[in-house]
């Protein structure tokens, strides 16, 4: 489902060129559970952003469902992000002035889906994450774990094929973190492709497939079939 061929991503910092991604080749099947680990600055976030079409490679080809998405226009990429990809961020990124429900509704609003079709979908997602009684709360009235669950609800309300999580537990206490991981893994069991960036070895090792990055290079991935 995801195919990366000879992906390079260079940044210009001062007069130095930083190779954030250096000839990355990667194939991910639909329904896989992949963790990307590595020290900070190893390029794992860059890789995730690139997978999420938030960034474009300097060279190389990225195919999503067989389609070359690197050459898509900005607007076309926005549509792919809206339909195919869900994001979960370390900082949650909820809109503070909107209620939990309205935050979850955002991707559907942007897609122009009418309210009568939105409401049942939002309600179902919130129900699935045990947030029904919190749906009118503003983010500031929610705990960290609840906030991240709202963010997951928002990421999955469009039924994306891929869920990209960037340090999803980085801002949570251990218990909330465990909850969030279980929710993500549960979504994966139900078929979503889960790709998670983490520097937490313990978290990363739960994934069936673990990728390690160093200096922009992908080290040989290993499968963990016990998980």
């Amino acid at each position: 489902m995801i195919d990366l061929e000879h992906i390079h991503r260079n940044f210009q910092v001062g007069d130095q060129t930083v190779r954030a991604l250096d000839d990355v080749n990667l194939h991910i099947e639909a329904g896989e559970y992949v963790s990307i680990m590595g020290p900070s600055g190893s390029g794992k976030s860059t890789l995730l952003n690139l997978l999420g079409l938030l960034d474009r490679p300097s060279s190389g080809i990225y195919r999503l469902n067989g389609e070359d998405v690197t050459s898509l226009s900005d607007t076309q990429q926005a549509r792919v992000r809206n339909r195919e990809i869900g994001f979960v961020f370390q900082m949650f990124h909820l809109v503070p002035r909107l209620s939990a429900e309205e935050n979850v509704e955002l991707p559907l609003i942007l897609a122009g889906i009418p309210p009568e079709q939105r409401r049942p979908r939002v309600a179902a997602v919130l129900e699935g994450l045990h947030l029904s009684n919190r749906r009118h709360h503003k983010p500031e009235q929610l705990s960290g774990g609840q906030r991240q669950r709202v963010a997951i609800a928002r990421a999955t309300v469009t039924n994306p094929k891929v869920l990209l999580a960037d340090e999803p537990t980085g801002n949570l206490d251990h218990k909330s973190g465990q909850d969030v991981i279980r929710i993500l893994e549960d979504l994966n069991h139900r078929g979503i492709t889960l790709i998670m960036v983490t520097h937490d070895q313990e978290m990363g090792q739960r994934a069936r497939r673990q990728l390690h990055m160093l200096d922009g290079r992908l080290l040989n991935g290993q499968r963990n079939d016990d998980a």
Binding site: A78, H93, V95
Partner: protein, 399 residues
Amino acid sequence: MRIADFLHLTGSSIIAHRLRSGLTILGITVGIAAVVLLTSIGEGVHKFVLSEFTQFGTTLVGINPGKATTAGGTMGVFGSVRPLTIEDSEALKRLPFARAVVPFVQGNAEVEAGNRSRRTTIYGAGAQMPEAFSMKVASGRFLPADDPTAPRAFAVLGSKLRHELFGERNPLGQRITVGGNRYRVIGVMESKGTVLGFDLDDTVYIPAARAMELFNRDSLFEIDVLYYEHYPVETVVKGIKRTLETRHGREDFTITTQQQMLDVLGSVLNVLTFAVGAIGGISLLVGAIGIVTIMTIAVNERISEIGLLRALGAKRSQILGMFLGEAMVLAAIGGMAGLVVGVGTAQLLHLLLPAMPVHTPVEYVVMAEVVAVVIGLLAGVLPARRAAHLDPLEALRTE
């Protein structure tokens, strides 16, 4: 994105920053209110001045001695201007379109009645003056249609002069002297008030021929012709010109139609209205700068939100629309409030100072609101473009 959702999102961010949005709206409110108020006063003055002029009707033509255009070469013996006479006025009366013709002379003289005397304005006029200038006689009658060259010594008093000279006594039939000559009072005019600085109440009307004699003049000041409405003004001007040219041998007079005067006056007053409107426009400009400032701040504050929306699949055009919409909504609300404040203040002013003419034309109201929205649009363009062109990745990293 659906319009209802768009408005909801825009509204939520405006409400989230109530104070800030309120102050920004206030800026536009003041600007629009200033424009509306000042143009209301300008239009009011415009209407007032025009109505002062048109109370005599628009089918009035004035003829003055002398040609107001510059002629080339030496005029020689023909250069002298022949006076406008009572006979000219009589000749004009015979024209088919002439409804009323009034010879007119003005001057100052001492008016005495009994032991009271007052120096005031004397109008030498013709019998048809009340018809031509829509004036009404309060008691008695106006000057009769005597032989215009040898009229009887009758006088008609303005309402103020009547009070000054006779108090509560009945002036009809009383004798007064005007400039040393004896006249009999035959009528009193209704109060007409001041028209463009002339007090028409503090005056005596006497026959034009007698006034010319009194002031030792051989020419009338003016002949006013009121014509029937169904005649086109060109026909009237041509007819008067032909008659007087036949009598004078050349065009040594100037014809001014009421319409010409109104046109000139109207254009002058339009400039006045525009000028005061422009002064109000400056405060509107300040309000617009307020919107630019607030929207710039709003974009800066919401960078991470913009990044999120982009990650969730918002197109650049959607981000642009959101911020433009926000600026326009701020301006539109400000515009509405400004209209209410402006029109309200104008009416209040009119209530407190009834002499202050105020008029708010509907098209100005609509224009002010349109201008407000356009200002919002223009003021929002720069910040909104910046928001739309943010790199989503950079935006997400910003906290």
